[in-house]
């Protein structure tokens, strides 16, 4: 019943949105959708499986998505966009389709269904990115669409190979695949294809090239949703396949690949955080770095899964908040190259302090859950004896934190007498997210 | 208690011997031995002139320095080997009291804002940087060879047992080191010529250039007292245990005469050569300590 509601309402909302005149009503519709979304999520969390049929992993991602979506809905109310009502209407419609597609991906259990929904998210978000049809955002959208659809096509090839790998009654529902009779070779090949397919969607190292362009060109709420929720949604199929690989005894193959891609992503992120001049690209690279850390966590075997989930939770909240704050900064400065910015602390004290706190939390200083997850990753790394990897990782993270804080401080400090006032909503959404992340960081909820 | 009397009267008296010896060496008659005491009494009654830059420090520094040196000398065995104050490890307090006196004088010197005093203080302090560790090493050697205790016990009660050659070797070397320290501390010839008039070459004298009257008297008395302390330490080190006071006085005068002869025979060292020589007591002490440890280890 819940899923029908979840799909029904957006369709109705889209129809209304098409006719509604003012921008406020669009926001209202989006807000209603977000509240419904999170309401259902909480109810599903309270009585497991009653409202929405999804397993724990799906519910976990669903809850993150609903929190982010409501934050973004509030943020949009505060935003003053100088674009025509027609574009704004299209933008809201596609936003709702985008969220609906992501809900579908969390609910689907059959790999084929997940594939379709992830493909749907790519298409709907491509249009959202090219929203301010500047030259660069159009190009970013095209690259995003093209590379992701190539990746998704490879993923589909992987799913087909999965079917081939099962001699008897082949089924795509991970739960009821019989592990004994599956042929290891085909399973390995299909896993590689699926990992690469959804890896491009998730922005892991060698396949990440679209991510900095897409996230830095997209408007603030969209890039927050992209990096906060979409990257996790792309992780769902990989985790489902990972469970399959564990049971069929090929876990070590998957873990080696995860570790390789994880370390490569953290390395690439370090290279480009030091180089980039644009603070939104810096945020995109730090998403790549955190996705790399998550993959390292999953690559270290079952003991580090808790760290992986905690890292996903922490990263999506803090990163989404950071993107919204970057949006505020962009609306103040209208220029992304951080070298000729400065003295945000004087211009707008609120967003400056939000910026500094968010950058402190993103590099994993105590209030944020990333600290505990980094500690656990380090613990498992050392317990497995990879001392070299541990020291390498710590060095890379230190360099990244230098880069992030260097940019943050260059933007925030300095003297200027320009004063800019921003709408209250613009602070509420990121501050709320950071608060949730802080609470999670201190009280560390029990993760299954 | 006799020590106290000894401290108050004798330092200025013995200081008079040195110019007398220098004069005789050259064939002159020299000023009378009691002249320094007369100067001291004359200065006590004179008024003082203070520079307009001077602060409260130049008022209190000379008296504080004198008092510190006086109290430090209470630890040292002079005529009688029982000192007024004394506890195990009191030589640490002794050294630090002397460095307090020197420190306060260094500050007071810089107080009148002329460049001479700065030059003098910098040289004086660079000496102390090497004398303090030297003194601690000397004490370590003595404690190692003789056993720990208060300064009185170490220098007076134990002294050198002439029958054991190792004690003689250690004792004599330490005596030489102490003698060099005496020369440096009281600004005698090889390091600093008290009789020179060229401020650029002075070390101790130029620090006190700006003091006059009562303070100058105190300063002269302090430097005389310091020299007296060191010479008494040397005497007690050389004299075997339990020798009579007469021997002690003769040895004391002998040391002063030696200093006087040294002043007339040896020329001053160049300024940076000076600093290299200040390292000599440190190296002697280190050498003897190493030899004693090696002996203990049964190397020989």
């Amino acid at each position: 019943m819940g899923s029908i509601l979840l799909v029904g309402y957006p369709l109705l909302a889209i129809v209304f949105c098409a006719f509604v005149a003012s921008r406020r009503r669009c926001d209202l519709l989006v807000l209603l959708h977000a509240l419904l979304h999170s309401g259902l999520g909480i109810q599903a969390f309270v009585q497991r499986g009653s409202v929405l049929e999804m397993d724990d992993l799906g519910l976990f991602m669903y809850l993150i998505l609903s929190v982010l979506y409501s934050a973004i809905a509030f943020y949009r109310i505060g935003q003053k966009e100088k674009i025509s009502i027609r574009d704004y209407r299209i933008h809201s419609i596609f936003l709702m389709i985008f969220v609906m597609a992501m809900d579908g991906a969390t609910m689907a259990k059959d790999m084929g269904l997940i594939w379709i929904f992830v493909e749907a998210t790519t298409i709907s978000s491509a249009l959202l990115i090219s929203y301010s049809n500047k030259k660069s955002s159009l190009e970013a959208a095209w690259k995003y669409l093209f590379i992701c659809s190539v990746g998704i096509a490879l993923a589909f090839a992987g799913i087909l190979l999965l079917v081939i790998a099962q001699p008897s009654n082949a089924t795509l529902n991970i739960a009821n695949i019989d592990y004994a009779s599956i042929s290891p070779l085909w399973l390995k090949i299909s896993f590689v294809f699926i990992l690469i397919g959804f890896g491009t969607k998730m922005g892991l190292a060698p396949l990440h090239f679209w991510l900095p362009d897409a996230h830095s060109e997209a408007p603030a709420p969209i890039s927050a949703l992209l990096s906060g929720a979409l990257l996790n949604i792309a992780l769902i199929p990989i985790l489902r396949m990972d469970k399959l690989m564990q049971y069929s005894g090929l876990g070590y193959v998957a873990q080696n690949l995860y570790l390789f891609m994880g370390f490569l992503s953290v390395f690439i992120a370090t290279v480009f955080i030091l180089k980039t001049k644009d603070f939104k690209r810096m945020l995109a690279y730090s998403s790549i770095e955190n996705m790399g850390l998550i993959m390292i966590a999953f690559g270290l075997g079952t003991s580090a899964y808790a760290a992986g989930y905690l890292h996903i939770l922490g990263h999506s909240f803090v990163k989404a908040a950071f993107f919204l704050i970057a949006g505020n900064a962009l609306s103040i400065y209208q220029d992304k190259n951080f070298e000729n910015l400065g003295s945000l602390l004087r211009i707008n004290k609120g967003s400056a302090w939000l910026w500094l706190i968010a950058s402190a939390m993103i590099i994993g200083l105590p209030p944020s859950p990333l600290f505990t997850s980094k500690f656990m990753i380090a613990a498992v790394l050392i317990s497995k004896g990879h001392y070299l990897y541990f020291s390498l990782l710590m060095l890379l993270l230190a360099v990244i934190s230098w880069g992030i804080f260097n940019i943050g401080l260059k933007i925030c400090l300095g003297e200027s007498d320009r004063r800019v006032k921003l709408n209250a909503w613009l602070y509420l959404a990121p501050a709320g997210l950071l608060l949730i992340a802080g609470l999670i960081g201190t009280f560390l909820p029990v993760l299954d | 208690m006799i020590n106290l009397v000894f401290i108050l009267v004798f330092p200025l008296l013995f200081i008079g011997i040195i110019p007398k010896v220098k004069a005789i060496m050259v064939g002159r008659k020299g000023k009378p031995v009691l002249q320094s005491i007369r100067d001291f009494v004359k200065l006590l009654r004179k008024d003082e002139i203070l520079s307009e830059h001077s602060t409260f420090i130049s008022k209190i520094a000379p008296s504080l320095a004198l008092v510190c040196t006086l109290v430090a000398s209470l630890f040292v065995p002079f005529v009688s080997t029982h000192t007024l104050l004394g506890f195990v490890g009191d030589f640490i307090l002794f050294v630090f009291l002397l460095s307090l006196a020197k420190g306060v004088m260094a500050l007071a010197a810089m107080d009148c804002g002329s460049s001479f005093q700065g030059m003098g203080t910098s040289r004086e302090l660079s000496f102390t940087a090497f004398l303090e560790p030297a003194f601690f090493l000397i004490m370590a050697t003595l404690i190692f060879s003789v056993g720990s205790g208060s300064m009185a016990q170490i220098f007076a009660q134990q002294g050198i047992l002439y029958l054991n050659i190792w004690d003689v070797f250690a004792g004599l070397f330490i005596a030489v080191a102490l003698f060099i320290m005496l020369l440096v501390e009281s600004a005698r010839v090889p390091f600093d010529d008290p009789a020179t008039h060229l401020e650029l070459t002075m070390i101790h004298e130029v620090m006190v250039l700006d003091f006059s009257g009562f303070n100058l008297a105190l300063i002269n008395y302090t430097s005389a007292l310091k020299m007296f302390i060191y010479s008494s330490l040397i005497c007690h080190l050389i004299l075997p245990v339990g020798s009579s006071i007469l021997w002690y006085l003769i040895l004391l005068i002998l040391i002063y005469i030696l200093v006087g002869m040294l002043e007339s025979l040896v020329a001053r060292f160049r300024m940076n050569r000076n600093l290299e020589l200040v390292l000599v007591p440190l190296s002697i002490a280190l050498l003897t300590l190493a030899a004693l440890i090696a002996k203990n280890m049964g190397a020989w």
Binding site: G112, E139, V150, A153 | -
Partner: protein
Amino acid sequence: MLEILIVIFGFSLLWASVTNMLGTVIKILVIQGVILFCITLLKTTQLNWLSFSLIALETLIFKAILIPWFIDDTIKHNQIRREVEASVSNFFSLALMSLIYVFSFVLAASAPVWSLKVFPLEFGIAFATILKGIFIIIANKKLITHLMGYLIMENGIFLLSLSAGTHLPYIVSLGVSLDIMLSVLIAVLFIKRIRSTFNDADSPQTLREE
């Protein structure tokens, strides 16, 4: 009959790696669409004739007719120069094509027990098409050739799903074709907008780490 069709499909790939005219590439796409239509027809059995006939019809319409017409129309409209400026010479792409064939057939043959439904030939050709599609994208700078490489890859995947998919629930293959069509439509829309903002045919390269 099935094998002959697949071999022709293989030849069309070889032909694609040799041509340097955009027009011929479109012709190849049409031929591949027709072959796929015939394969789906051949594979329909009584059990699932309804779903497969629907898919066959749909492949015919989209793959053989609609998309090539669309691309042809965009080429005419935006005066893109006719040739395929491949960054590598034809000989090299042909050599690479044969290498891809070798690689895919080794992979197909290396599967230990062949009790599965997939014939090595079908899997080999499908896998080669996928790699060939990606290679075409890499080799060329022009936007249109990127799209065509993508379509060839889609055909390869569709062939793979056909060969594996006899038991596949038809919903997925339907979904496949639908998705492909949708993405191509969006891509073509994009090309129109990109054409209007960027005036040259090459894919834009402004976003880079200077």
